[in-house]
């Protein structure tokens, strides 16, 4: 194998993908879908009020508000930025905490407290925010609790927003569309245009052609996966680990795509196979949409071992120790794919010559 030739073929692949409708579709659709979900569901149905604080004096009040887990809170360094974000609807309410706010609460001194509110803030959000502020203010002012409120959750207590529920499916679609579809489409197009025959009488080995296509799937799968995570603000705290698991996932998907492309001889068969077998690929993402679906069902799908490590690191802040067993299964699956691919390449050499 020559890295130089793989590089040459990879650049050719990348260039060809830029002008191919199906390739663009495979790469752009998840990103567009992600943007839509983020814009529509992310803001309207997130369920948690989104608050901003401008507090150059570092009050206890702000610290207590930032610690509230049922709120989405951000601390701003710039007042202008907070006002701009409120106007744009990125935050629902922006609070300007005045100097000496905590002390004024304790002393009972009247104080102006300026608050900007986005005009379209749902009433539910305003109520939740106001109640929380009242509680925090009472605590700082040292007021005695005259009533103890006991909250009994009814219905779905561990509510997750629709955007959060859709994220796993979105991530999986991103990796599958780029990782599986791009190399398989490229391989079939190469066979149909018989250019693979022309490459076959150059010093380039068939395995180098396959490697270049796999690399294309990996790069695109990684890139779109990272964009999707970034758009959904789900990059987590272990960025390097996330990139690593995304790389493994994209590689596994791309190996599968290259294998499919090697086995299929025309575009219609490939698309029909993807349509029919697509559920097996995105199954874990769909199961995540079903509330309280048992985890073992998702584990039956091979792509679970692509999705779960990514989501564990991105959403739940998992470390390598938490996901090693899933990664091990993924590596075993990849070894199986590589063996299958090696066998297919050996057979392809003969079949190609008979095209």
């Amino acid at each position: 194998m020559s890295i130089r030739r793989i590089g040459i073929l990879f650049w050719r692949e990348l260039r060809a993908s830029a002008g191919n409708f199906l390739m663009i579709f495979a790469v752009v659709v998840p990103v567009v879908f992600s943007l839509l979900v983020s814009l529509v569901f992310g803001d309207l149905f997130s369920g948690r009020p989104v608050l901003g604080f401008y507090d150059p004096y570092g009050s206890q009040f702000t610290q207590m508000m930032l610690a509230q887990s049922h709120l989405n809170t951000s601390l701003y360094d710039s007042l202008d930025e907070m006002i701009a974000d409120t106007q744009a609807g990125k935050i629902e309410t922006g609070y300007i905490v005045p100097q000496g706010f905590d002390q004024a609460l304790r002393d009972g001194t009247p104080l102006d407290f300026l608050v900007y509110t986005w005009g379209e803030t749902p009433l539910k959000s305003r109520l939740i925010a106001d109640t929380t502020i009242t509680n925090v203010v009472s605590q700082i002012a040292g007021l005695e609790q005259t009533a103890s409120v006991q909250i009994v959750p009814l219905g779905q207590a561990d509510h997750t927003s629709l955007a959060d529920q859709l994220l796993p499916l979105l991530i999986l679609m991103t990796i599958i569309l780029s990782g599986v579809m791009v190399p398989s489409l490229s391989m079939i197009s190469e066979k149909q245009s018989r250019t693979l025959l022309a490459l076959n009488v150059t010093p380039a080995h068939l395995s180098e052609v396959f490697a270049a296509k796999t690399l294309l799937g990996v790069v695109l799968g990684m890139a779109t996966g990272m964009i999707t995570l970034a758009l959904n603000r789900a990059f987590g705290s272990h960025a390097l680990l996330l990139i690593f698991v995304l790389l493994l996932g994209a590689l596994a998907a791309s190996l599968l795509g290259t294998l499919l492309g090697a086995l299929m001889w025309d575009m219609n068969t490939l698309l029909a196979t993807l349509k029919g077998g697509g559920i097996l690929l995105i199954g874990p993402g769909i199961i995540d949409l079903i509330p309280k679906a048992p985890d073992w069902i998702a584990r039956l799908f091979p792509t679970y071992y692509i999705l779960n490590p990514v989501m564990a690191v991105a959403e739940r802040g998992a470390g390598l120790g938490d996901i090693w067993s899933d990664l091990l299964i993924l590596l075993v699956l990849m070894v199986v794919l590589v063996i299958a691919l090696a066998r297919v390449i050996a057979r392809q050499q003969k079949r190609l010559a008979l095209l």
Binding site: L197, Q349, L354
Partner: protein, 288 residues
């Protein structure tokens, strides 16, 4: 004596029960143009695929530049140029990009793509997408691609099939130039006229076997019948043609008699074509 560049020894290929190429043996020398002639399905393309390392022979061996092609195909392919019968260019790329891609794969340095494109008559359109090219232009570009690594052996599969006379002439000129420069040319075709014009030797392949292999002139001499065609004016103002075999025992007498009549309008000799000889040897036509 010129160096042998292609040596096929009992080369055989079977598709299941069908023997497509049946124990063929021949040698081709450096700078020689070998016309590999036969009808569709005769085994020409299968033979080329074995000689270029695309197919492993079922039996026998092929030595290309003294290397067993089935054992070291990739090393040998570095020195081969192959032009296919069916177009297989990257149509989403320009001619220039196609050539540059293959030059990089062959690791050819200091090559002048524009010069090569000018040689095949494509200069001025080098930046156009290949999908906009005509069949003749694509065929010429494939030939340019085959020449990119300055090959020692050029395999051309039906290079002028369905092309206009101008494109055909361009390709013929390139084949002659390559041969003069020492490149062996293995020309697969069913165009007998083309083979007669270009090939130093021709091999007739029929049902997977080589039926004859020699210089066109020798084959014509050996198998063809030479005749003298004389157009004679008859008494009623019409004309008729007499064919007199040149190798007959009474030829001289017959010719003398015809000319003595004083009614001869035209006279010319006629030799057998390669197609006539192919039919005579194999009992079938080239299109059959």
């Amino acid at each position: 004596m010129r160096k042998v560049t292609i040596s096929a020894r009992e080369l055989t290929y079977r598709y299941g029960d069908l023997t497509a190429v049946d124990h063929i043996s021949f040698e081709v020398a450096e700078g020689e143009v070998l016309g590999f002639l036969g009808p569709n399905g005769a085994g020409k393309t299968t033979a080329v695929r074995m000689l270029t390392g695309q197919l492993r022979p079922s039996e026998g061996s092929a030595f290309i530049l003294d290397e067993d092609i089935s054992k070291s195909a990739k090393q040998v392919q570095q020195y081969l140029g192959v032009s296919f019968e069916t177009t297989n260019l990257y149509e989403d790329m320009s001619a220039l990009e196609n050539l540059e891609l293959f030059a990089r794969l062959f690791n050819v340095k200091n090559f002048n793509a524009l010069e090569l494109l000018e040689k095949v008559g494509l200069s001025g359109r080098e930046k156009e997408r290949v999908s906009n090219y005509s069949k003749g232009m694509k065929q010429r570009l494939m030939l340019a691609r085959a020449l990119i690594n300055h090959p020692r052996i050029l395999f051309l599969d039906e290079p002028t099939d369905g092309l206009d006379p101008v494109s055909s002439q361009t390709i013929h000129a390139i084949i002659r130039e390559a041969s003069a420069g020492g490149t062996t040319v293995f020309l697969t075709t069913h165009d007998m006229v083309e083979a007669d014009k270009l090939a130093h030797r021709v091999a007739f392949i029929n049902k997977g076997q080589i039926a004859a292999l020699d210089q066109p002139a020798v084959l014509k001499q050996h198998y063809g019948k030479r005749t003298l065609k004389i157009e004679v004016q008859d008494g009623q103002g019409g004309t008729h043609t007499r064919s007199i075999p040149l190798d007959g025992s009474e030829t001289a007498k017959e010719v003398e008699q015809v000319f003595a009549s004083g009614n001869v309008l035209t006279a010319h000799t006629e030799e057998a074509t390669l197609e006539d000889i192919f039919i005579e040897i194999t009992g079938r036509g080239l299109l059959g």
